[in-house]
Every structure is written in structure tokens, then in C-alpha cells.
């Protein structure tokens, strides 16, 4: 590793790129080697750090299972439904609050301060309202994603170029036309960003609810592998969830970037 300690941007772009790639590979290999060494040494409890080959085998058998895809479908359905309901509510609330300074002052503090609270504690109430089935998980996803989307849309509303709004008004656009022709197209970037944030917390809310009380879904599989102490399976499930959610996140933010580029 080059301990240059330099603060200026190094002009060595091209060779730097390949060195970065090399370093990345080296870090990954080092982590895997340390992992394998710890697994072989038996320093930790048996099975807490299983050998990589064991995890790889568990991952392969997990991906070969039909039940995994069925449970993944259940979770995806719950997250998707939650995102649609919470996202739509967030969009409406965001447009209303962002469009009026008075209403924003009256109600936005509640959303702003409720946003960073742990949503999972509403789960017992959601069970009472919507039952122990998928309904309560959808509700968790909805509550989770409502707040970031509403706040993001409200902030986006306030950043819309005043000229666009005046153009709409001078064409005597009605409220519906203002929303569909002016507000929504002008707010594409903040909406996509809000959906990205909302999707992330909706996944967390739904899966956590599944680990707490359910009999299906990926969260259930994770907590089930915990209660049967099947650590390789738990690792492979966590790997699958992490890869999927980071991938979806990257996909949505790429969507935002593409649209931002197209606008120019």
C-alpha cells in the first residue's frame, strides 16, 4: 500500500485504476483468507464461522430450492404492495405539504420528527389491526416508506423552478393538470430518490416483521435457520438478501441518474 500521505489529487489516473482493482481483489482475498483461517482455527464456537466451502454449498442448495423463490415472491409482494400504498400516500402528502407553506409549517414537523423513529415497534399494533398474515407486513412496509417519500417529495416541490409553475398558471391549468404536467415531471429526481430511500426502509420493515412473527417470507427463513442453528444457511440467506437489496438500490438510483441525464 502506498503511504504517500499526499493531499492533492494524484494525476496518475490510468495506472491508478488498475491498481485500485488490484487492491480490491487483494482486500477480498485477504478477508476470505482470514475468514477461512478463523474457521479452521476453531477459536470461535463451532459453526459460528463456517468454512467458505460450506457456505458456498449452502448458498448453491438455497438457490436450487423451489421454496426459496416462493418465499422470495411472498416477501417481494409484501414489499411491493407496501411501497405502492406508502409511496402513493407519501406522494400525495408531499405534494400537498410542499405546495403550501402554511400546511407545511403546520404538519411537516410531525412527519420530519417521526421519520427517524424505529418503525418496527408499531408491529404489535399492526398485528392487532391487520392480523398475523401478510397484511401486517405490508402495513410495516407502508409505514416505513411513507416518511422518506413524503419528506423527499415535499422538499422537491419547494425546489421546482418558479417559472414552470407560472407557465402552468398562465395556461390556466387545473390542479390535476398542474400535478401531472408540471409537478411530477419537474420532481423526477427527488421522487426517484425518495423511492430509493423508501424501498430500502420498506425492505427492512417487512423483513424484520417477518423475523418477528410469520410463517413465510425471507425473514421467516432467516429466523428459522437461527432457531435450527443452521449457520451456513443463515449466511447464504443474508448474502442473498444483501445482494438483492443493494442491487435493487443501485438499479433505482441508476434510473434516477438516467432520467436526470435525459432531462438535460
Amino acid at each position: 500500500m502506498a503511504h504517500t500521505g499526499q493531499l492533492t489529487a494524484s494525476p496518475l489516473r490510468l495506472p491508478g485504476l488498475s491498481r485500485v482493482t488490484l487492491l480490491r481483489i487483494a482486500i477480498i482475498l485477504a478477508v476470505l483468507a482470514i475468514w477461512e483461517a478463523v474457521a479452521a482455527s476453531g477459536l470461535l464456537f463451532r459453526d459460528v464461522v463456517p468454512s467458505l466451502t460450506v457456505i458456498a454449498r449452502a448458498l448453491a442448495s438455497l438457490l436450487g430450492e423451489e421454496g426459496f423463490y416462493w418465499n422470495l415472491g411472498v416477501t417481494a409482494g409484501e414489499v411491493g404492495t407496501g411501497l405502492v400504498i406508502g409511496g402513493f400516500a407519501g406522494l400525495v402528502v408531499g405534494i400537498v405539504l410542499g405546495g403550501s407553506r402554511f400546511l407545511s409549517r403546520a404538519f411537516e414537523p410531525y412527519i420530519y420528527y417521526l421519520g427517524p423513529t424505529p418503525k418496527i415497534i408499531f408491529f404489535p399494533v399492526m398485528i392487532m389491526w391487520f392480523g398475523v398474515g401478510p397484511g401486517s407486513k405490508v402495513a410495516m412496509g407502508t409505514i416505513s416508506c411513507f416518511f422518506p417519500i413524503a419528506l423527499s417529495v415535499a422538499a422537491g416541490m419547494r425546489q421546482i423552478d418558479g417559472v414552470l409553475i407560472r407557465v402552468g398558471r398562465s395556461f390556466r391549468a387545473n390542479t390535476w393538470q398542474m400535478v401531472t404536467k408540471i409537478y411530477l415531471p419537474a420532481m423526477r429526481a427527488p421522487i426517484v430518490n425518495g423511492v430509493r430511500l423508501g424501498l430500502g426502509v420498506a425492505i427492512i420493515g417487512t423483513l424484520l416483521a417477518e423475523t418477528k412473527l410469520s410463517n413465510r417470507g425471507i425473514g421467516f427463513l432467516i429466523i428459522n435457520s437461527y432457531s435450527t442453528f443452521n449457520m451456513p444457511r443463515m449466511y447464504s440467506l443474508l448474502i442473498a438478501v444483501f445482494v438483492l437489496s443493494i442491487g435493487v438500490n443501485a438499479l433505482v438510483s441508476r434510473l434516477g441518474n438516467l432520467e436526470a441525464v435525459k432531462r438535460r
Binding site: 459460528v48 402554511f102 415497534i121 399494533v125 392487532m128 423483513l207 437461527y226
Partner: protein, 256 residues
């Protein structure tokens, strides 16, 4: 944001917000009394209010609060030490930053809290699991904001340091750290909020420890009013904590 005139202007809408909230609660109370809403699903708001005192006195709220606070403190301490340390490392070793900054950003968007069953196995059903969950959840923003702050130091300041021939150590303590401090505080604040959310959440999920467990216990006892009151209490605590960190940040950030 502040200013006397604006504060006065803000008074009316704030009152309206509060009035709507109270009106909504009154409406729910009426609907339950009229039998439109089942009172075994939604308890009367007045009942919830009345059970506040019972929950605080009988369920050992002070001890629980103190436990959660201690967990949050240790998580924040770990976050600050490791987050800022790793941030400085990434900033000093440029190639390491190029190689791993996107990984740290990906970690920030990953659902790390789902690893709690894994942490349960490693650390046992104890406060350590909860502290480590809070630490892992809040680490990424501290690292990213530290790097951002250090890298965003104005060139003029660094040139001044150069012309005074400061040693690298002096450069860090006298120039880079003070310049990056506002950004680092933003990172620690974000990390603290993520940590608290996850600490209370995991307490609820694994039924151990402080405020989160209280909700789980009351819900399992089917103490409806108590559950609602406990949820309101936890929400209140998190909102106050959030307001406090915001104040702290504003107080620590030099006014521009």
C-alpha cells in the same frame, strides 16, 4: 430557520397542527365510544393517557431508559472511534479510498439490521448484541462524512500549512480536523440516529433490555392501553433525542 419574526409567523400553523392532532384524537375517542371502532383493537385515547403513569411506575421505565441510553452511548463511542478512525485511514491512503468508498456506500444502503440473528449467535442474547447492532448500523455514514469533511478542506488552508512547514501530524490536528469537524459531527449525528433506531428495534425483536422490550412485553400480555402508551413513550423519546442532536449540531457548527 430562526429569527423572532419567523417564529411568530410560524406560531399559527403550529397551533393548527396541534389542534388537528387533538381533534383527531377526540374523533377517535368518539368513534370508539360510539362503537364504530372496536375498543379491543384501538383503546380509548383517554385510557392510553391514563395508563402512561401506570406504565412509567410499574414497568421500571427509568431503569429501561437508562439501559437503552447506556447501549446507545457505547454504540456511539464505538462509532466515533472506528468511524472517524477508518475515515482518516481512507483519506490518508488515497488508493484505499478509491477501492473501498463505494463499498462503504453500499453498506450504508444494505439492510444490516437483518444480521441480528447472526449477532445473537456470536454475542449471545445480551446488551453486547444490541450495542454491536447499533454500531454496525451507524458505521457507514460516520466513515463517509469523515472522508468527505477531510477531503473538502479548502486548498488555501492546506497551502498555509505547507508554507509553515507543518508536519503531517500538525497538519491533521491544526488544519484538517478543525476544518472537517462540522462534517464529522453530521456523520456522528446520522450514525447515532441509525444506532438508536436499531437499538430500540433489536431490543423489541429479541425481547431483551430496555425500551424496545417493554413494548414487546406489554403486547404479549395483551395490555392494549399499555402497549399504545409505551409506543407513544418510545416515539417521544426518539423525537426528543433527534431534536437534541439537531440542537447539538447547530450549537457545534460555526455560524456562517
Amino acid at each position: 430557520m430562526n429569527g423572532v419574526a419567523q417564529a411568530q409567523k410560524r406560531g399559527t400553523p403550529a397551533l393548527l397542527g396541534l389542534a388537528v392532532l387533538i381533534a383527531a384524537l377526540a374523533l377517535i375517542e368518539l368513534l370508539i365510544r360510539a362503537g364504530v371502532i372496536n375498543r379491543f383493537i384501538v383503546p380509548l385515547p383517554s385510557e392510553i393517557l391514563a395508563s402512561f403513569k401506570r406504565v412509567v411506575v410499574e414497568e421500571g421505565i427509568p431503569e429501561r431508559f437508562w439501559l437503552t441510553l447506556r447501549e446507545a452511548f457505547w454504540a456511539t463511542l464505538l462509532l466515533t472511534v472506528f468511524g472517524v478512525g477508518l475515515g482518516v485511514l481512507l483519506h490518508r491512503v488515497r488508493i484505499l479510498r478509491l477501492a473501498t468508498e463505494t463499498w462503504v456506500a453500499a453498506l450504508a444502503s444494505a439492510p444490516t439490521v437483518l444480521m441480528y440473528p447472526l449477532f445473537l449467535v456470536i454475542f449471545g442474547r445480551s446488551a453486547n448484541t444490541i450495542i454491536m447492532m447499533g454500531f454496525v448500523a451507524g458505521l457507514a455514514p460516520v466513515i463517509l462524512k469523515t472522508v468527505e469533511g477531510l477531503a473538502g478542506t479548502r486548498r488555501v488552508l492546506i497551502d498555509v500549512a505547507r508554507s509553515f512547514k507543518l508536519t503531517p501530524w500538525q497538519l491533521y490536528w491544526k488544519i484538517l480536523f478543525p476544518a472537517a469537524l462540522p462534517s464529522i459531527f453530521v456523520g456522528i449525528k446520522l450514525g447515532m440516529i441509525f444506532a438508536l433506531i436499531n437499538i430500540v428495534g433489536v431490543e423489541f425483536l429479541i425481547n431483551f433490555g430496555g425500551l424496545g422490550q417493554l413494548i414487546n412485553e406489554l403486547a404479549e400480555r395483551y395490555d392494549l392501553a399499555g402497549t399504545y402508551a409505551a409506543i407513544c413513550f418510545v416515539i417521544l423519546v426518539s423525537v426528543l433525542f433527534f431534536m437534541f442532536t439537531e440542537r447539538l449540531e447547530r450549537w457545534l457548527t460555526p455560524a456562517n
